[in-house]
Amino acid sequence: MDFDLSPVQRMLRDNARAHLENICPPGHVRAMETEPAGYSRDMLTGLGERGWLGITAGTDVGGIGLGPIELSVLAQEIGRALLPGPVLSTAVTGTLIAAALPDVSDLLRDIVAGRVLVADALFDSADARASDVGTRATPTDGGYRLLGEKRFVQYGRSANLLAVLATRPTALDTPDSGLSVHLVSTDAPGIRTTELTSAGGEPLYQVVLDNVEVDAGDSIAPGPDTDELIRRITELSRLTTAAQLVGMSRKLFDMCLAHAKARRQFGRAIGTFQVIQHQLVDLYAEVERAQVLLDRAAWLMAEDKDHERELAVARSAASDTSYLASHTAGHIYGGYGFMNINDVQLYYRRSKVLELRFGNADACRAEIAKLGYLSAFELPDSDQRTVPDLSMFGSV
């Protein structure tokens, strides 16, 4: 019974925060919004050298070999700093796929080292539903030919590889989902990208795969293990999405609190007014709730215990909290929160975009309410007091 980070995990958090405050101040985030690539490749290679891109990868390929709790800690700091670039898609999706390729080591080492960056183009839309993948992979002599379209791909041009899910051209009667996994070069023949302009400011693309040839060596064929890989990528991506949202929300709370103490009106700090104090308390309460639910989900994953339901609970709370955080901040900062010169707008815009990736709050609630998951709230069978009360069904 101890909900705190371990001393080593705290050190990871503190070091990551200090490093990001140093290399990625808000000015960097703003500058990257007008860069075509959307991020600094040197910065990401530097993070690779620090081990961030291999945080969960094995030490034999240059990774650190840590688990979901540490991944969550790092993702919270990345969210807090709004670090631009395909960092978590490389660290999670990139490393997991590369480790499952037929010939593992070289590409995985390059990914872990930050020499090859991976953009997430897994699902056809941002809802992360495997059933929605309509992109087809037709087997060829040396691999596959991909035909389809991926929407809302962040860094879809400036990363090196696209991680793509595709399905068999004709459904077979197999127990697996039929999905295959591919790493495709962003400049492969047949790839056409159209830039979308999103509120978040990250470069965002519609990617058309028009008969793109991909080697068998860069592909993972359909099968139960592949489904398991996709499930793992999806759940870790949901974890890092929730973690980034919690990191953003806590940063917004810190900003609001500092502003309420500094900003003076009517001759006193606005933080002396009860109506402001209670808004801050309500935001603080929401951030703490999202935090404790996130930590529980990460701990369950680290302990290899059942966690699907708890992850959906955490993901749903993180979305609602980031919404409340960005709106409370926008309000407490008043007119300043509305201006481009203030940092609140960066969080306001980016958290909304992230909130809708890998399942929004409504989708998570639908999942939490699955009958199987509601069985977490079953009365004990042995309880004799549980008399079925069916008086409602008939008259007395």
Partner: protein, 396 residues
């Protein structure tokens, strides 16, 4: 980080729940919030204290020298969660959690000798005389006087909202011993006295939720010996604030809330067994899922306080955070339940067609209570001042 229980702790939980399943008197309504406005019910609640005492569970966390069980805070919290889950009604809450701990910490050897054993054995019931008609949230404004007359104090004035006063043997009473003190927090003292002391008149205040009546108390020249003061003359405010902080995290609230939620879901399942039921509605399921998120974050934040205490950290504002969240949750879930059950949901206990003998309605009626143990606003003030470092806004 560890969100789990040890095997020993799980075993202990099972021992408690199997005892309660077999030995709890059937007249206790499962999961009712604050007992029942009924003399016979309270008498049964009193008798059950002695059974708990025989198991060593009544004052489980007290040191053994005072008749306690010497349990760790985690074991106490597990016990409380189970007692709440099975609907063990509160009987001597004030003695166990407020007067007793205060006597232990501030009392004279004679006071400890006289008062603690009977509380530990479940032989007595205490009530708490704090609120007055003009001193509610502003507790330090109490006007009841206790003026020295030789070796005695003479008490005059009125108290209000004194739960269980008509059934209590003793009162833990805040009164003003020095009306000339310059500040309202000064000149207060805390008294321990028997409720059958001449001059005390009790008038019950019944409420529409049919829970234990609160009472008005009138003190007319009530004479008590000077050794009735606990913690020293003029130290009353220190005791009042110390004891209020004992009160705010109560894991039995979690147990009760869980039970009610499970009873509700069970009813929904039964309603769906013969056709379309509430769980077939996506809207209802989404609201249920939101309640799951709120409930689980509330529970985890309560357990986080337990974890803090377990590692020797004294919580300051954290119990207030759980209190605010808990009150909000109970309101939201009560509304959900009654909305789903419609007209059935507003049928009173004893009415034909009333689901679960009216317990879900009781939860709804009781949920308006966001004032008990300090209003939500006072709790938010505590969080703002002690947790967020925001200045006090109140005139003191």
């Amino acid at each position: 980080m560890d969100f789990g229980f040890t095997p020993e702790q799980e075993d202990f939980r099972e021992r408690v729940s199997s005892f309660l399943r077999s030995d709890l008197p059937p007249e206790f309504g499962l999961g009712s919030d604050e007992g029942r406005d009924d003399d016979a019910y309270f008498a049964a609640a009193r008798r059950f204290m002695e059974e708990l005492s025989a198991k060593g569970w009544l004052v489980f966390g007290w040191p053994k020298e005072y008749g306690g069980g010497g349990a760790t805070v985690v074991e106490q919290a597990i016990l409380a969660e189970e007692l709440g889950y099975y609907g063990v009604p509160p009987a001597d809450t004030t003695g166990r959690t407020i007067a007793g701990p205060a006597i232990m910490r501030f009392g004279t050897p004679e006071q400890k000798q006289r008062y603690l054993r009977p509380i530990a054995k479940g032989e007595v019931v205490w009530c708490q005389g704090f609120s007055e008609p003009n001193a509610g949230s502003d507790l330090a404004s109490v006007r009841m006087t206790a003026l020295r007359d030789g070796a005695e104090f003479v008490i005059n004035g009125q108290k209000v909202f004194t739960s269980r006063a008509a059934w209590a043997d003793y009162i833990y009473l805040l009164a003003r011993t020095d009306p000339t003190a310059p500040r309202k927090h000064q000149g207060l003292s805390m008294f321990l006295l028997p409720m059958d002391t001449p001059g005390i008149t009790i008038r019950p205040l019944h409420n529409f939720t049919h829970t234990y009546p609160q009472n008005e108390l009138f003190f007319d020249d009530v004479r008590v010996p000077e050794d009735s003061i606990v913690g020293g003359e003029g130290e009353g405010w220190k005791l009042a604030t110390a004891t209020l902080s004992f009160e705010r995290v109560n894991l039995s609230d979690i147990g009760r809330a869980r039970r009610l939620f499970e009873e509700f879901l069970n009813l929904c399942r039964q309603l769906g067994a013969k056709g379309e039921g509430p769980l077939d509605s996506e809207l209802v399921r989404s609201r249920i899922a939101q309640s799951v998120v709120e409930f689980e974050s509330w529970r985890l934040l309560c357990w986080r306080v337990v974890g803090m205490q377990n590692s020797g950290v004294l919580p300051t504002f954290e119990p207030s955070l759980s209190n605010v969240i808990g009150k909000d949750y109970r309101q939201h879930v009560a509304k959900l339940v009654v909305d789903v059950l419609g007209q059935y949901g507003v049928l009173e206990e004893g009415s034909p067609l009333a689901p679960l003998r009216g317990r879900l309605l009781h939860q709804y009626l009781y949920s308006v209570n966001k004032h008990g143990q300090g209003t939500s606003e006072v709790q938010r003030d505590v969080i703002a001042n002690r947790g967020l470092g925001l200045p006090r806004h109140r005139a003191v």
